[in-house]
């Protein structure tokens, strides 16, 4: 069934998704600069682009790109060069299944959630590759920390998603959104609510904690940990490759927030808006929800210090995983027995 139209379709979708990803990442970078600086009682970017320094992320990217692209002498050149592509590609791939409106989704896979979990973990592979191939001890330690974090947090993340899947009864992301839009009847009152309000609050908290850990942002930014490992796995990167990591990091933040918004906040759907309106306003609704979650992540970064790697492991294995397991049990119990 592969025709010319198929490829045209793919190319258009790829370009659109890429543009959306890069655009949103740039906005996230700008938001971080501004939000953090105002929380720190300073102005932040001011001059670039004229008003409010809106062009600062572009200026930063341009500056990074014109630096010399260095590969350390002892580095495994191939792996070193490939690592940022893997990070960006993996992040990009998550955008494929995120529904922006009932119809605006690159590919509505039946196993969308499964695909998301699998693909988003690939980022850490890129990070590990970067850390190992840099021939730098800081990078190596950063890479290893990232790997340790992945192993510790993939499990609670998956378990939190499992709870949602159990409640929704589908693994398709569009299906999950529709399940949230479907009205539920409580005591003769028929309302539709996002999963966050219908029993998934624990899953949501676990998901957010785990995704912040997977994004290696404060308080779980040990793989980068500037004051300990200078820049962790990013230490040896420069120029375009650094920019890719940088963009990838923020794009991952967007995609994680998009997943969380879809799974717990109802995605492109909000109550009291008709199906047809959602076709047009769906993307904006989703972006608003993403912004909310991204803001929360930035806010945390502007406030909290960093944990230690062993404390993070401790938290994951001793608290989050048991709680997540229990949560799945409870949800399944309600799903099977009560409703």
């Amino acid at each position: 069934m592969i025709t010319g139209w198929f490829w045209a379709d793919v190319i258009v979708k790829v370009i659109l998704a890429l543009a959306a990803m890069i655009g949103m990442a740039l906005v996230a970078i700008y938001a971080e600069l501004k939000v953090m600086s105002h929380m720190q009682h300073r102005i932040g970017p001011y001059y670039a682009g004229g008003r409010w320094g809106w062009a600062q992320p572009f200026a930063d990217a341009l500056k990074f790109i014109q630096k010399e692209d260095l590969v350390p002498e002892g580095a495994d050149s191939t792996v070193f060069r490939a690592a940022p592509y893997i990070v960006v590609a993996a992040t990009f791939a998550t955008f494929v299944v995120i529904p922006f409106s009932p119809s605006l989704v690159a590919r509505d896979l039946d196993l969308g959630v499964f695909y998301l979990l699998a693909v988003s973990s690939l980022t850490t592979l890129g990070v590990l590759m970067a850390g190992w191939s840099s021939a730098n001890k800081y990078s190596l330690m950063g890479g290893l920390r990232a790997a340790g974090q992945l192993i510790a947090y993939e499990l609670p993340l998956a378990l939190a998603v499992v709870a949602v899947v159990v409640q929704a009864g589908t693994m398709s992301l569009v299906g999950i959104v529709e399940a949230q839009a479907a009205p539920i009847t409580i005591g003769g009152l028929s309302i539709s609510l996002p999963f966050l309000l219908t029993g998934q609050i624990v899953s949501f908290v676990i998901f957010m904690v785990a995704s912040v850990a997977e994004l290696s942002r404060i308080p779980f930014d040990m793989p980068i940990a500037e004051s300990e490992l200078t820049m962790g796995y990013l230490t040896e990167y420069s120029s375009l490759r650094f920019t890719m990591f940088f963009l990838g990091e923020y794009a991952a933040m967007i995609s994680m927030s998009a997943i969380a918004a879809t799974l717990f906040l109802g995605g492109y759907w909000i109550p009291f808006v008709s199906e047809t309106a959602l076709l047009y306003f769906g993307p904006f609704i989703l972006i608003a929800k993403i912004s909310l979650l991204v803001f929360f992540i930035l806010w945390i970064r502007a406030t909290w210090p960093r944990l230690r790697e062993d404390q993070l492991q401790d938290m994951a294995w001793r608290w989050l995983i048991p709680i997540a397991l229990l949560n799945v049990l409870v949800i399944a119990f309600f799903k099977v027995v009560v409703f």
Binding site: I43, T303, W304
Partner: protein, 165 residues
């Protein structure tokens, strides 16, 4: 005594949320930043910004150059005959200042030269905008040092109970 632990709170981790509330409040507060090139803070009158020279007052006594810990003041002068103060009096000589240079790349702004000058030829000015791209331009000569003289402020008024009262 160690700091008291947080009192019991309705939330878990009250310290974390308190911090979040703090940063959220500051997100909406006006920012006190002084936007430097457009706005400038006025330095205090006593600020040690740059040293100004009054060449008329200088008698080439070399005291400042000798006392400078960094040896960053270079002075050259010559003696010049001067008319006697009253007719028939003794012919006198006067020291003329040829060269007075302060190397600000060496200067550590201790102010000893200003302090030891017995003829009030040196002053502190709070001006600070004289950075350059070339280290050689940091050697300020006689004319440049004289230009700073205009920027020397009046000394601040003093608290009443002190020495001056």
């Amino acid at each position: 005594m160690p700091a008291p632990l947080n009192k019991r709170s309705r939330f878990a981790f009250p310290g974390l949320w308190k911090g979040m509330w703090f940063t959220l409040k500051y997100l909406f507060k006006p920012v006190p930043t002084v936007m430097y090139p457009q706005e400038q803070e006025v330095p205090v009158p006593r600020a040690r910004g740059v040293i100004a020279l009054d060449p008329e007052a200088c008698t080439v006594c070399m005291l400042c150059a000798r006392e400078c810990p960094d040896w960053c003041i270079y002075i050259e002068g010559h003696k010049e005959p001067k008319a006697p103060s009253k007719p028939g009096g003794r012919a006198r000589t006067q020291n003329e200042l040829d060269r007075f240079e302060i190397d600000y790349s060496l200067c550590m702004y201790c102010g000893i030269c200003v302090e030891v000058c017995p003829f009030d030829a040196l002053y502190w000015s709070p001006e600070y905008e004289y950075s350059t791209h070339d280290v050689a331009d940091l050697i300020h000569g006689k004319t440049r040092l004289k230009d700073w003289l205009e920027t020397v402020p009046e000394p601040p008024a003093l608290e009443p109970q002190g020495e001056s009262s």
